[in-house]
């Protein structure tokens, strides 16, 4: 476990050094611009729009960072030969995988915390009063990105190009957000279309389970969180199976 933590901290430090603050600064700039613009346009609903646009931006920036970090993680380590220095140490490949993934998640968590901090400052400046649903929204976003990131790690080990890994996991994100609508269409169709629709429901993730927003209850949170953890674990197990056999 010690080595897993060492690898995680190393990954976090590298991300902090390289990219995190640029992303957060970009987010802050866009958010402040949006808040000024929406303040004029959204009249009665300024707070709601500021809340939604901030959360949407947090989700997008975290997702893009997560996909990029995970898709380039191993390929970059192979390119720079860092992976040889690590894998020729007395630690197994599962520890390596867990360490790097944990570091990646810590990086994403840090990005989210910084962005949420900025977002909350703006919300409080607009006389918003604290509501727990904000916390649950942020946790929901993190869990969704966790699922996409785990899939991206798997695809990055499977493919030789980081772009392919980003495209695969990005498609999973898009289709995973569309499953409630696919389910709606499946219920209204029959024959081959219904079979295809059902197959899609079995194949693609269900991010809707984590869109907790302002309306959530304990059952929704429990089922959503356990789903996200189970889903991510499956992809991590698959990644481990690949990594076990992968030659560098």
């Amino acid at each position: 476990m010690k080595q897993v933590w060492v690898l995680a901290v190393d990954c976090l430090l590298e991300n902090i050094w390289n990219r995190i603050f640029i992303l957060v600064a970009l987010f802050g700039g866009i958010l402040i611009y949006l808040s000024l613009l929406l303040g004029v346009l959204a009249v009665d609903q300024e707070l709601r729009v500021l809340m939604d646009s901030g959360l949407a931006l947090i989700e997008l920036v975290t997702l893009i960072s997560g996909l990029y970090f995970s898709a380039t993680l191993f390929l970059k380590e192979i390119e720079t030969k860092t992976i040889y220095l690590i894998l020729s140490r007395p630690l197994n490949r599962l520890q390596y995988l867990l360490g790097r993934v944990l570091g990646l998640l810590l990086s994403l968590l840090l990005i989210m915390l910084l962005m949420s901090g900025l977002h909350l400052v703006l919300l409080f400046l607009h006389h918003w009063s604290w509501n727990n649903s904000y916390l649950f929204s942020i946790v929901g976003i993190f869990l969704k990105v966790l699922m996409a990131t785990a899939a991206a790690v798997f695809f990055s080990l499977f493919s030789t190009s980081s772009i392919a890994a980003i495209v695969f996991s990005g498609s999973l994100w898009v289709l995973g957000n569309f499953t409630p609508e696919i389910r709606f269409m499946t219920q209204k169709s029959s024959g081959l279309a219904a079979i295809c629709g059902r197959a899609v429901l079995f194949l693609f993730p269900h991010f809707e389970l984590l869109n907790w927003g302002a309306r959530f209850n304990r059952a929704m949170i429990l089922s959503g969180a356990s789903y996200a953890l189970l889903y991510s674990s499956v992809f991590l197990v698959l990644s481990w199976l690949i990594l076990q056999r992968k030659e560098f």
Binding site: K2, Q3, V6, L7, D10, L13, E14, W17, T80, K81, T82, Y84, L85, I86, L87, S88, R89, P90, L91, N92, R93, E247, F248
Partner: protein, 258 residues
């Protein structure tokens, strides 16, 4: 003397698929070699001759397609296996924002050393590699020679019995090469085993007890020190002679693939 590394008829072929068409490239073929404890064994060969493949097979980073690789009689990819090996890849990368000390600490922790051992080993390795004065410098501030010393320091921080060094002298100035050679000689005196590759034949000649010459994935010849010492032109001439006068290798390779 007991064998530290033992290759038996080892072969490795790289396969890559593109648009459904698989192409094969020989990495190593019919490779048999024993390296003894306390020995410095050098691998010489042109680019793409299979030196790095040999090292990666020894490290368990690659799996042989046929034949066997045995290191310390331990199964590869186990903790006890890696705790006895130190590896320096060609032109390794270290995080530029880390100090020398932090970087070495990171690899010491990864090697599973305890906090007390880390301090002791760090002190030893900084002293041995001449990095004491540079320990608080960032990696980005180091010259190529100093970076290479860091690479060696990370490979020896856990005091391994076997060192595998892939082109450790590339890009170094003559003084840095001399320092590196001195350091490796000291390690040999301590009873370590060194498996090294380099384009610098002159250095290999000085350091190694035996040298293997690789050509297109095949071990063409293994030379003893006596084979080049006192011979006109030394190891360089022997190397050129062997590489140029090996008509069978290509035909053999083709047959093996088929």
């Amino acid at each position: 003397m007991s064998s530290v590394i033992s290759f038996r008829e080892t072969a490795k072929v790289y396969r890559s698929s593109h648009l459904g068409r698989t192409t094969k490239k020989i990495g190593l073929i019919d490779f048999s070699l024993d390296i003894e404890k306390g020995e410095a064994f050098g691998l010489l060969g042109l680019n793409g001759s299979g030196k790095t493949t040999t090292f990666k097979l020894a490290l368990g980073l690659l799996t042989p397609d046929s034949g066997t690789v045995n290191v310390f009689d331990l199964s590869p990819k186990t903790k006890s296996f890696y705790s006895r090996i130190g590896y320096v890849p060609e032109l390794p990368y270290f995080h530029s924002f880390l100090t020398v000390k932090a970087c070495l600490k990171f690899y010491a922790k990864l090697s599973g050393l305890s906090q007390i051992d880390i301090s002791a080993h760090l002190e030893r390795v900084l002293w041995e590699t001449g990095l004491v004065a540079h320990q608080n410098k960032k990696i980005s501030e180091l010259s190529k020679g100093l970076s290479q010393r860091v690479a060696l320091a990370q490979a020896t921080i856990h005091n391994p019995d076997l060192l595998i060094l892939d082109e450790p002298m590339s890009g170094l100035d003559p003084l840095a090469i001399r320092d590196l050679r001195d350091y490796l000689s000291r390690l040999l005196e301590e009873g370590k085993t060194i498996f090294i590759s380099s384009h610098s034949i002159f250095e290999i000649e000085k350091l190694c007890h035996r040298v293997g010459i690789l050509k297109e994935g095949r071990l063409v010849r293994v030379l003893q020190r006596k084979d080049w010492e006192g011979v006109s032109g030394g190891l360089e001439n022997r190397f050129a002679e062997i590489i140029q006068n090996d008509p069978t290798s290509k035909a053999l390779l083709r047959n093996s693939i088929q």
